[in-house]
């Protein structure tokens, strides 16, 4: 790896943490709220589980402040499954992150799904040994998070809706902006970095390699195997599914189908077979019906 580009200068801890993100590619990371659900997810072939107290659809419905999960519940899930266990901290809440690190979670999601704890700053993720994933809506946001130390990016979508439109919008925006950098003359990159509010070194690397320097997953609104396959075609390397599984009629079956769809995203005949007879999908909320204040994706700076 060239020493000149940004990723070639990162620490062994960064490398091993990007390595875990690499291992999660081509798979599905599922939100679970109990150890029973974690077992169902692992049995379905999830590559990791996200331990949280309420899935985003319920966070939306219940309102109020949404925080890091109870450590007891996270420990129960760690004991129940052998696959990696992730957990969420609030944006900027570095003490929730420290607690999750002390619990030995395998990945922390600094997530807009929880109520932000800081309205200006995100966690300095380079100060941690545990890997972080963060959400983005565009390339500037992705590169700011990577600059802060995130080793995995997920496009945000709109969590808890079951409506894939925002996930598509964010992934298309990200991929278009990456592509634009690859064909931009070098003397324009500094202005591009200024305009998108991104570190110059990272802009330069993306222009050179044509992708993010860390794995790029999709989240927020995936509810069916076809949704998952769509996101893989648009550039996602893996898919997070939150409410889409355990708010559906037959979670075990749907979970397995979405896992299979991520592997065979390029085979419509297999996708047809995979999509058959899965029971009711989650009911869902049309993103157009959400007011600006109800949108989780706009949290993050």
């Amino acid at each position: 790896m060239s020493e000149k580009i940004w990723s070639g200068r990162q620490s062994p801890v960064w490398r091993k943490n990007v390595g875990l993100a690499e291992m999660l590619k081509g798979g599905v990371i599922m939100d679970v709220v109990t150890s029973e659900q974690a077992v169902i997810a692992a049995e379905a072939g999830a590559s990791a589980v996200m331990a949280l107290e309420r899935v985003p659809a319920d966070i939306r419905a219940d309102g109020g402040v949404s925080r890091m999960s109870d450590p007891k519940m996270i420990k129960g899930i760690q004991e129940a499954v052998s696959i990696p266990v992730m957990a969420k901290c609030r944006i900027g809440h570095f003490m929730e992150a420290r607690i999750l690190e002390a619990l030995g979670v395998d990945f922390i999601d600094e997530s807009e799904v929880l109520t932000p704890a800081d309205d200006q700053y995100h966690v300095d993720k380079t100060a941690f040994k545990v890997p972080f994933v963060c959400g983005c809506r565009n390339l500037g946001e992705a590169l700011r998070r990577i600059g802060e130390g995130a080793v995995m990016i997920r496009t945000k979508g709109e969590a808890g809706t079951g409506d894939v439109v925002e996930a598509v919008r964010h992934m298309r925006t990200l991929m278009d902006e990456i592509h634009a950098l690859t064909v931009m003359p070098k003397d324009q990159l500094m202005s591009a970095a200024r305009d998108m509010g991104a570190p110059y070194d990272l802009v330069e690397e993306v222009a050179r390699i044509g992708r993010l320097p860390v794995p790029n997953f999709s989240a927020g609104g995936v509810a069916t195997p076809a949704d998952a396959a769509l996101m893989m075609h648009l550039g996602a390397e893996s898919v997070f599914v939150g409410s889409g599984i355990f708010k559906s009629g037959d979670p075990a079956r749907r979970a397995k189908a979405i896992v299979e769809a991520v592997t065979h995203y390029n085979d419509p005949a297999k996708l047809a077979e995979i999509s058959e007879d899965l029971g009711e999908p989650m009911v869902g909320i049309n993103c157009d019906d959400l007011g600006e204040k109800e949108r989780l994706a706009s949290r993050g700076w």
């Binding site: 943490n17 291992m23 081509g26 798979g27 052998s82 696959i83 690190e101 299979e260 592997t263």
Partner: protein, 203 residues
Amino acid sequence: MPDRKTIGVLALQGAFARHIDVVESLGAAAVEVRDPDDLPGIDALIIPGGESTAMSKMLVRWGLIEPLQNLIQGGLPVFGTCAGLILMADRLKDWDALPRLGGLNVTVARNAYGRQLDSFEASLNINIPGSPEFSESVMEGIFIRAPRIPADGVGSGVEVLCSYDGFPVLVRQNNIVGAAFHPELTGDNRLHEWFLRDIITTY
């Protein structure tokens, strides 16, 4: 000029894209293997890292176990890294019922080094007779929630090509090579070169 080799890379889940990058950078062709239709024409198979439980379910679901076992018994060269080592192991310490390929006479303990906080990078002294390029310098190995072969877990017919901290981390039994670490993540492609050069031409 030797024929251009075609390497199948098991692409059910995990770090298969990184292996494909390495294989192609070395001048071989790579084919993503997702079901039995992808197997004809491959000269070797790489099983990447990832989640062994997830890969195991898909091996069963898409009917890959028996065709792959037949090819491997017939001499198909296989290189399994991390989860790939688990799927090739004859014995698993904690969950022996996991459906897998087997064929490598070793015992493997899954996640034996601990959680992600315990993952590490280490300098490895690799000793492969007839391959002096490995004695020139150490190879960096990244161990990610890695499996461990206990010291007494190596059965007959298995050569230990590298140990770290008292545990075998690179083993070979005829056409099957297994690594507990990730040679595809560091940019040092010597193990892939050796696999393509020596193992494939021997079998």
